[in-house]
Structures are given as structure tokens and as C-alpha cells.
Symmetry: C2
């Protein structure tokens, strides 16, 4: 069975066994007549945005006790806030979330290379392709990067000062979240 | 208890009870002496990248049967591939993944607005702030958008033709994954 076939099998089992009563489909919870506009407003009962790395060792639902409906989860390489800005603004402005949790993690691959390294790998592997215009957003210091990424949001004109922003380091060896204090 | 405090409590419970034997930390699985370079190479046993929307109703681990270590999970508003390109290239070029699953979903908030709408909301809510330079990547047709986002990757010079790319619609009402055939 290929990996994709395994996902099909797992999904079929999920469809049959998922706890339907726990699914917080916002229209079902709050109103009988649903329009597109109404569903946007109703989603405002959500309040958390969780930003994390794509790393395969992290399962946000398990590590942070999230149930379906609890939080918007944004993930990219490194859990970088500049790239997440579009999603964060949509979440905050259209869906009413008010708390952002930035959780980057120990042993992150983004600590292991610089832009020039990946530009060279791409040039070699992809027949001379030029990706030097792309900033892959690696970083050399995890704790400082959490501070910088939190500061990026706190100082951004599209994120209101009323939004509560927390920075954490997630230890992939223990599963523990450690708060990073701002400077 | 605030939502953030609830996450702290949930994380403390996770740290105490997580199944340590199941954590596929690549260095532990394959080699005793770990260097940054080595850990990058070792992670090449991963093979799937899963791209999804940030929507709170989706728990990828449950819906797709993922365990810790199975897949890179990239999530943004809409599950859009253009914004995910940086992460996908890092995953493919540095970590050796070979399959991309693009799963966008029914009842997506990105179907409910256009750029001019969110630009106006921002202008009104944030004291005249101008976000008209940002494309928030909304889309009017879900199935066509999956096709377009898959085609974006298939035609991109930084994604090798050998990478296997699958498009799906995830039905948030039933939990079912439905394949979207390319045109």
C-alpha cells in the first residue's frame, strides 16, 4: 500500500468513526439559517491563532490539547510570522480571533542552513534553477527568532495592539512548551 | 482559566503522558552521533507534505491518520500553494519528501469574500490602514481552485516533475476526502 493509499484508508475509518457530536460546525452551534456572511460572523467565537513549524514531529492537537473548532492553526517552515501575516490578518479581521501563540521548536531544520546553502542545492539539483530571489527565512538563534517574530507582529500596523501575542519554544524531545519573554 | 492557561495545562498533561516510544526523532531512529547536517539527511525518511487550510474544524492527524513523524504539515488561510512554495521547496530539497497532498475544504471562509472586501474592513477597523498591496488569495470556486493550486506546483520550476502531487476536497461536514482530478 502506498502512503497515499494509507491516507485514503485512514480517512475512510475517520469518516465512519469521528465523534459527530463534538464537531463544532459554527452554523450548527448558533443559528439554523446559514448564509456565507452569517457563518463568518458566527466563527467569531474562535479566539486563538496557533502558529507553528511544519515539522513532522509536532502534532498541535495532542501537544496543546486542541479539539476540533478550538483554534486556527497556521504552519510553515520555521513557524515564521512574516509569511503568516496574510492568514493572521484574515483570522483576526474576518473571524475575530484575539490571541496569537507563536511556538517555534528545538532541533528545527531552519537552524541548520543559510540562504546561500539552499540556493546552491536548488541550483545543483534542479538543472541550474535560480532561486536567489527567494528568502527561505532560516535563522541562527531560536530564542532570538521567537522574540523577533513576536516583535514583528506587535509592531505591525495590520495587527491591533489589543491582540494578545505569546512566544514559546516547543521542546521536541520532551513535548514541553517554554515561554519566551520579550526583551 | 484563560484559553492560554488552558493550553498550559493541556501541555503539562501531554508532557507527562505522551507515548515516548512512538516519537520518531530521526536521530534516535537511525544514528547515535547527531550533527546538524546528519539530522537533515536522516529526515529524508519522511515522504509526505500535507497542505491544508488553517480552519479550526480540521485536525489533520485525526482526519488523515497521521502519527508524529509521518508528514510535514503546512497550513495557511485557504491551503494556498503559492504561499506554501517556500516551505514545500525546503521540505522537498532539504528533507527529501516526494509527495504533496493539497487538501482544500468545503465551507471555506476564503470563498466568502474578495480582496476589496477585506481591504475595506482593514481600512475601517484599523484607522485607515492601507492593505491594498496585499493579495489575501481568496477564491470563488473550490474545485477550480484545487486544480489551479495543483497546476501551480506542477508547472513550477522549483518543484521537480518527479514529485507526486494530489489534489483533494475535504468535506468538513462528513470528514471525507474527495479526489479532484486534473483537467
Amino acid at each position: 500500500m502506498t502512503l497515499v493509499e494509507e491516507i485514503h484508508v485512514a480517512n475512510a475509518a475517520y469518516v465512519n468513526h469521528r465523534p459527530k457530536g463534538q464537531l463544532p460546525l459554527p452554523p450548527a452551534r448558533k443559528v439554523a439559517i446559514v448564509t456565507r456572511t452569517a457563518s463568518l460572523i458566527l466563527l467569531s467565537s474562535l479566539s486563538i491563532m496557533l502558529l507553528q513549524c511544519m515539522d513532522a514531529r509536532i502534532l498541535p492537537a495532542s501537544a496543546f490539547g486542541l479539539q476540533e473548532g478550538d483554534a486556527h492553526v497556521i504552519r510553515n517552515a520555521g513557524g515564521r510570522t512574516p509569511e503568516a501575516l496574510r492568514s493572521l490578518v484574515i483570522s483576526q479581521q474576518l473571524l475575530g480571533t484575539e490571541t496569537i501563540i507563536v511556538a517555534q521548536h528545538t532541533d528545527c531544520g531552519m537552524l541548520t542552513f543559510e540562504n546561500k546553502d539552499i540556493h546552491a542545492v536548488i541550483h545543483k539539483n534542479l538543472h541550474g534553477a535560480d532561486a536567489t530571489h527567494i528568502d527561505f527565512l532560516p535563522f541562527p538563534n531560536l530564542e532570538q527568532n521567537v522574540r523577533d517574530d513576536v516583535a514583528f507582529l506587535r509592531n505591525h500596523e495590520l495587527i491591533p495592539k489589543t491582540v494578545d501575542i505569546h512566544g514559546y519554544i516547543y521542546d521536541v524531545a520532551t513535548g514541553r512548551l517554554v515561554p519566551v519573554n520579550s526583551e
